[in-house]
């Protein structure tokens, strides 16, 4: 094992490491010749060693100094995951400035709000699209002074008085190195644990995004603890494909990568993510439940198109894998015959499938952000993929709880991460305290005080409980979403929605029922799955709307809803959450319309307001409802769609009857 030799210096050399730039320097010394970044470009994986990375970052940092960046300035960074953009973050840190990564798919207004709120003097944009968005709003931004762009395509002819190309900036920096280097060194020497490492805007399920200020102590300590928890090591590979503005990507692709010294791989384009995943074969992998769901849906769709023998082979061995796979992964004892059969299945089915999915080498896999359907979770684990759950948020530098190897279940989010203390308030809300707890919300002392008390306890906003015996935390729902039905029974919409979303045909569901006598639901069909079904059954449709309103689709969805009702009724505490009536929405819920957050979480309040007419119809007993909905296109233009929707009743099961059986 070549890495064993490197582990000793790692622990001794890191004792006094306080900041990301210091970790970079250490990595150059320890692993200078090993790959730090890779990116597929022009069909080939290009790579940069730690030493080359440091050179690039230095040149950029000098360039930024040359441009007049001061300590404490905010530098906004907008673009997709590319090594250059990660370097920009570290270069900003070197100058003593604060990098502020933004969501690349944010529309101009959202960008304007954040740029204005943090008073960014500089923006580093990846391509013309991002430059255009900032140009569109720059008149409103008094603080913005200069923009740097990476990809010159289409930008060459722009007015360059306030615009510089990334590479040009690096050249300018290198040219002025002699006079700027002492200043850069002085700034680096002034940085320590309390220096701000990054500011991340939370997507905010309600209201305006808030700027979460994370110090180097937050990031470095959390990265250290979590890397040790999962035994991450140099030589690990990750694929950086999640938005750079999201705390998870920052911790995985910068925090843990710099702490551990592993390699960050960037896909060629968002569309090639899956083939790039296969080529890299990451050993450490994170994806939100939705990605796992989509992949499983795709596998199932492709299996339905496969020949009869292949289908039989798949289903036969998957059934066996479900029985013994998770136990094998947890190291429990399994009979010899079962083990042998699993081996055979691995050879014929699981191995090739994992390879196709790009999971052949995954040693540690995580999912978080939303609850994952138990069947989805078990599917991946039974293939032998060490998929685990964690629970976290931006304010905690991700990690609050994690599942240790061998203690993995789909209904818990694990035990407190190293260094984290947990407590449950009277109303069920989960609180935590850890070295990763954020410094403050930028320019928002009021919210800071609301969220973090004087002793450092942070309210998560989620309701949950710690399970007796195992000590695992179980999350029920958002604390503010957990409500009461009119008869006093517990109302936990997400619990039901997650059950619905397990069906490949259902992409999204929103359940209503707080303070009402019964529950009703909106359903979004999954165009891939339902479209494929329509194609196989020769059902013609011209639009999403038409397919969503097709009687046979409604019948299928109704069957799903009724199946969920049966399953919900089994838990006496939640039996009241069965769905009495539902409708299939004529449009997909979309972040551009404000219905979802950028991380694709449902924004209940907004949906309740926007679709008030539909909700009323669900409760007033009408069969049909006609509605008009405003939609926002990707370029920011608005339009509207009209539709007549059919409302359907679903059978519910009486909880008492179930109990009697």
């Amino acid at each position: 094992m070549i890495w064993e030799d490197n582990l000793a210096p790692l622990s001794t050399a890191t004792a006094d490491m306080q900041t990301i730039p210091q970790l970079l320097e250490r990595n150059v010394a320890l692993y200078g010749g090993k790959a730090a970044y890779r990116e597929k470009e022009f069909g080939i994986w290009q790579s940069w060693t730690w030493a080359e990375t440091a050179k690039e970052i230095d040149a950029l940092a000098l360039g930024l100094l040359n441009l007049g960046v001061n300590e404490g300035d905010h530098i906004a960074i907008i673009g997709r995951n590319r090594p250059y953009m990660y370097w920009a973050m570290v270069a900003a840190q070197k100058c003593g400035a604060v990098p502020v990564p933004l969501y690349q798919d944010a529309v101009a207004e959202e960008i304007a709000y954040v740029l204005d709120h943090c008073g960014a003097r500089f923006v580093i944009a990846q391509d013309q699209e991002q430059v255009d968005k900032v140009v569109e709003v720059q008149d409103k931004l008094t603080g913005l002074e200069h923009m740097i762009y990476l990809d010159p395509r289409g930008v060459r002819k722009y007015d360059h008085s306030k615009l510089t190309r990334y590479q040009t900036l690096q050249e300018q920096g290198l040219a002025a190195k002699a006079q700027l280097q002492p200043e850069l060194d002085a700034r680096l020497a002034r940085q320590g644990s309390d220096t701000t490492c990054v500011m991340l805007y939370t997507s905010g399920t309600t209201g305006r995004p808030k700027g979460v200020v994370l110090s180097n102590r937050n990031v470095v300590e959390t990265s250290k603890n979590s890397s040790e928890f999962d035994h991450l090591r140099p030589g690990d590979e990750i694929l950086a494909y999640l938005p750079m503005a999201w705390v998870g990507d920052f911790i995985f692709s910068i925090g843990q990568a710099y702490w551990t010294g592993f390699c960050v791989n960037c896909p060629e384009s968002p569309d090639t993510m899956h083939s790039d995943l296969r080529e890299i074969g990451p050993t450490y992998y994170f994806a939100p439940p939705r990605v796992f769901e989509t992949q499983l849906t795709n596998v199932m769709i492709r299996m339905e198109d496969a020949g009869r023998f292949k289908q039989w082979l798949f289903h036969h061995f998957m059934a066996h894998a479900k029985k013994v796979g998770p136990d094998l992964l947890d190291g429990k004892s399994v009979g010899f015959g079962d083990k042998l059969k699993y081996k055979l299945g691995d050879l014929l089915v699981f191995g090739p499938l994992k390879n196709t999915l790009g999971f052949s080498r995954v040693r540690v896999g995580y999912t978080a952000g939303e609850a994952i359907g138990p069947e989805i979770f078990d599917f991946y684990r039974s293939l032998g993929i060490n998929l685990k759950q964690l629970y976290g948020q931006t304010e905690a530098c991700v990690f609050i709880t994690q599942q240790p190897d061998g203690e993995v279940r789909s209904d818990t989010v694990g035990v407190a991460s190293p260094g984290v203390e947990l407590k449950i308030a009277g109303n069920g809300e989960v609180f935590y305290r850890s070295p990763g707890v954020f410094v403050e919300y930028f320019k928002n002392a009021e919210s800071t005080a609301d969220t973090k008390d004087k002793e450092g306890w942070v309210a998560t906003g989620d309701a949950g409980f710690i399970e007796d015996g195992s000590g695992h935390l179980r999350i029920i729902d958002r604390a503010k979403d957990v409500g009461k039905m009119a008869d006093g029974a517990l109302f936990a919409p997400k619990y039901v929605e997650n059950k619905l979303k397990f069906f490949p045909n259902i992409l999204e569901a929103v359940v209503f029922g707080n303070e009402r006598d019964r529950c009703a639901a909106f359903i979004n069909i999954d165009l891939t799955a339902v479209g494929n079904w329509a194609e196989r059954n020769n059902i013609a449709y011209s639009s999403y709307q038409e397919l969503a309103g097709h009687p046979q689709v409604l019948a299928t969805i109704q069957a799903h809803v009724e199946e969920v009702n049966v399953s919900v009724a089994q838990d006496p505490m939640l039996a009241g959450c069965q769905i009495h009536r539902f409708l299939v929405l004529h449009k997909q819920l979309d972040a551009d319309d404000g219905e979802l957050t950028r991380t694709l979480k449902v924004r209940r309040r907004i949906i309740e307001e926007k679709y008030a007419d539909l909700i009323n119809a669900l409760y007033d007993g009408s069969d049909h409802v006609s509605t008009e909905t405003e939609v926002t296109y990707e370029d920011g233009r608005k339009g509207s769609i009209k539709a007549v929707l059919e409302l359907r009743d679903a059978k519910v099961v009486s909880a008492v009857k179930m109990a009697a059986e």
């Binding site: 470009e41 022009f42 069909g43 289409g154 060459r156 002819k157 384009s269 569309d271 090639t272 083939s275």
Partner: protein
Amino acid sequence: MNDMSGGNYMTADGRQIGNTLMEMKNITLRFGGVVAISDISFDIHEGEIRAIIGPNGAGKSSMLNVISGFYHPQEGEVWFRGERRPTMKPYQVAAQGIARTFQNIALFNGMSVLDNVMTGRLTHMNAGLFSQALWRGKAEREEVENRETVEKIIDFLEIQAIRKTPVGRLPYGLKKRVELARALAAEPKLLLLDEPMAGMNVEEKEDMSRFILDVNDEFGTTIALIEHDMGVVMDLSDRVVVMDYGRKIGDGTPDEVRNNQEVIDAYLGVSHD
């Protein structure tokens, strides 16, 4: 004649237009008794986007085929880069630096996107049969160089995700883009596009327009295109030739053409005031 006829000017969006790249002098093309093109002259400047428009059967595609060397006009002269072009086979024309796309997509359906685009590099391959068969020396070097050029074009047209997909499995809009990629792979001096937007929806048209403008901007490629969509033609092109029944009835900037009474009558419809 407009004031831009001589070339060497700057467009409103800051592109430099050079000297005359190609000149058609009094071209007449007949098929038996049918006169497809009658006595048409026009020129194409270096770096410009030149459109040829006209109603169905006006002779636009025939004109493009004359430029690409597929048809040989009975009368008239074709001048390219300051020299009169003798009668040539299409492959000889291609070697001179003229590449084209087709109205009805003409790709190799069973081959991958990458291989299709690589065929566009054919004019840049010189290695002998023996060297190619063994894939040693010159053949290998050439392949690496050509692949690099092709990959840049794939990146430029944002078709990385379908690099290895057989062309037959692609939707129409993407096939059109692959065809453009193949034409670009030849690194042409002059790019001929025969109805690049035909059969596309609005979004695909917007994408294609963006790519055509970017090609012109980034590589400085001169482009001659035939297109039916008036909005597209007027937005994209620097100068427009209007044909009707094989005759040229207008030539000038989009604005000039738009206000030309003969063009309005013949093509855009007689106005009703």
